[in-house]
């Protein structure tokens, strides 16, 4: 299934785009997305271990299952304030 991953801040600059589409075999977890994203966009690999992921606007651990209609985001460490 196709999963689209939104990128922000440094990850967006490194990848040169706001979103990456990944083609993954089901069932899909956040951990599989993290792994595949690093393989598909190699320049992101060094920082992905420090990034959080969100599914449908909620922080999601690597074990969380993802459906094709879910909104997935890769979140580098935040720095608001």
């Amino acid at each position: 299934m196709i999963v689209r991953v939104k990128l922000f801040a440094l990850t967006q600059d490194l990848a040169g785009c706001e979103e990456v589409s990944l083609d993954l075999e089901e069932p899909v977890t956040v951990g599989a997305i993290r792994k595949n994203l690093g393989e598909s966009v190699e320049v992101l690999q060094p920082v992905l271990g420090s990034c959080a992921f969100a599914v449908n606007n909620e922080y999601a651990l690597d074990s969380v299952m993802v459906q094709e209609t879910d909104e997935v985001a890769c979140l580098p460490p935040v720095s608001g304030g």
Binding site: K6, F8, A9, L10, D13, E42, V43, Q45, P46, V47, G49, S50, A54, N57, E58, Y59, A73, L75, P76, P77, V78, S79, G80, G81
Partner: protein, 147 residues
């Protein structure tokens, strides 16, 4: 109430919102953009967000704070886009019957906001370079680029 805005934060409006006849305490915290970080000079800062999640995370913090302290009114505002030096990038305001709760709640809200709300800051330094601020980011060597 929570808000993301690209406009300057209206401080009198915030104090007007949180001031309440049932409250004896109003605490307002403003996070303002700083000119110097150690020896490096910042010209300006820009903020970007994952807006829908930032809004929902701020709403969660508001409801968690209200469950923990006797808060009458609560305002969380984060500015996005370019924020010139000396202007507020974030505002947290709470009103409570007594001052200790207001101080504690405002401090807790600000700390949690900096940990959880997906907003990112980019420093524009005086030398012309820029840096994203990502506390705790570890850049591991990329196996694919090693010789």
């Amino acid at each position: 109430m929570v808000e993301l805005t690209e406009k300057p934060i209206d401080v009198p409006a915030i104090t007007g919102t949180v001031t309440s006849p049932t409250s004896g305490a109003v605490v307002l915290f403003l996070g303002t953009t700083r000119q110097f970080t150690d020896a490096k000079e910042t010209v300006t800062l820009t903020y970007t967000a994952y807006a829908p999640m930032a809004t929902s995370e701020m709403e969660k913090l508001e409801s968690q704070a209200k469950a923990r302290w006797p808060i009458d009114q609560c305002v969380l505002i984060h500015r996005l886009g370019e924020v010139p030096i000396g202007e507020a990038s974030v505002a947290v305001a709470v009103s409570t019957p007594h001052r200790r709760d207001a101080f504690e709640a405002a401090s807790w809200l600000m700390d949690r906001l900096k940990e959880l709300v997906p907003v990112w800051k980019k420093e524009h330094w005086s030398g012309g370079s820029t840096d994203w601020v990502h506390p705790g980011l570890v850049q591991r060597p990329n196996e694919n680029t090693l010789q």
